[in-house]
Symmetry: C2
């Protein structure tokens, strides 16, 4: 099997959510596994000198409209969360803890977090909300709470964020196919072509 696709995203990112609803099907179509890598956009904004989309005059208003329209265009359920943006640290830490201990639950957890926030308009922070999602997947509450405080789990997320930055990740979603970078939920046509042809 060819190398996995790397899928970087922030749990607070609407376009990351839209990509998360499509990336597995795209991978499957071309015989590729997909490695999900949540990260924290806040850490990256500081380096790149950008800010959350909705903080920009004009661009912020347009983006809200574009997110809703793009979701309808793709046929993906989406609501603009009442409290947006949100922190996403707890969900990201729980994700990597699951990836290392119960890997079969990591993606279902990520999708459940995304849908809770962008479909049900429910909060994913503070931690109790992310913990609740993990509990609903059958995990033990105390174990999750302990993982969230575990220095090794904290370090795991930090390592992933640093590795993403080192690879040039500056936005969400961000996808690598055999080293080729694609930024945005609107590059899936190019991603598919790259998977099909190996470049053009």
């Amino acid at each position: 099997m060819a190398a996995p696709i790397d899928f970087y995203f922030d749990f607070s990112s609407p376009y990351g959510y839209l990509a998360s609803e499509r990336i597995e099907a795209v991978g499957a179509r071309y015989g590729r596994a997909v490695t999900w890598r949540p990260f924290l956009l806040g850490a990256i904004f500081k380096i790149v000198g950008t800010a959350p989309l909705l903080d920009y005059p004009m661009k912020g208003d347009y983006s809200k409209r574009d997110m809703l329209r793009s979701a309808r265009h793709l046929g993906i359920p989406f609501r603009m969360p009442s409290a947006f943006p949100t922190a996403s640290l707890s969900a990201a830490r729980i994700f990597y803890w699951l990836a290392d201990t119960r890997p079969e639950l990591a993606k279902p957890f990520a999708s459940a977090i995304y849908r809770r926030y962008f479909v049900d308009d429910q909060p994913i922070e503070p931690a109790e909300h992310a913990i609740e999602i993990a509990v609903s997947l059958g995990l033990e509450r105390n174990a999750i709470a302990a993982a969230l405080q575990d220095p090794a789990v904290k370090a795991r997320l930090k390592t992933e964020v640093d590795a993403g930055i080192a690879r040039g990740v500056f936005g969400s979603p961000f996808v690598f196919v055999d080293g080729e970078p694609f930024w945005g939920a609107d590059r899936f046509d190019q991603i598919e072509r790259w998977l099909e042809t190996g470049g053009w």
Copy 2:
């Protein structure tokens, strides 16, 4: 005939160039005229708080790659100009002078400017270069030079830029279909769907 499509762009914008090579065919397919409206991104960056793409660490490097790849994906000739970005004031002023006096030459002039810069890698500023393009279309050199200094022509461009800002234009290309805004050369699938369905 339904209302024209409004097509806003900056002559220094690679994605604006890519859009300029497609927008007329899209309009024709749905029985729409296209009104071309060059503007000056610099005026807008100040309001929105953004900067030229290539000024951003990481995002700048990615963007150069994405411009080249997107052009290849669309089958549109494209070279990253040696001197990038560029001023685009002279070309924009000549465009509006033509639109008001020799309208049949305005779009050919715009396309010639874009191709000179993004295909032939030749400068479009200072003014002598933009003038040369207009001369090659059969216009009289002294008349163009006079138009560039004409306060009415200067005011015409300023009015267009202000009107664009008032409508929410913050990037290039920026397209309106019956009032619906679309930002980016990567929204043509949604533009076409909107033209076909009137919204969804």
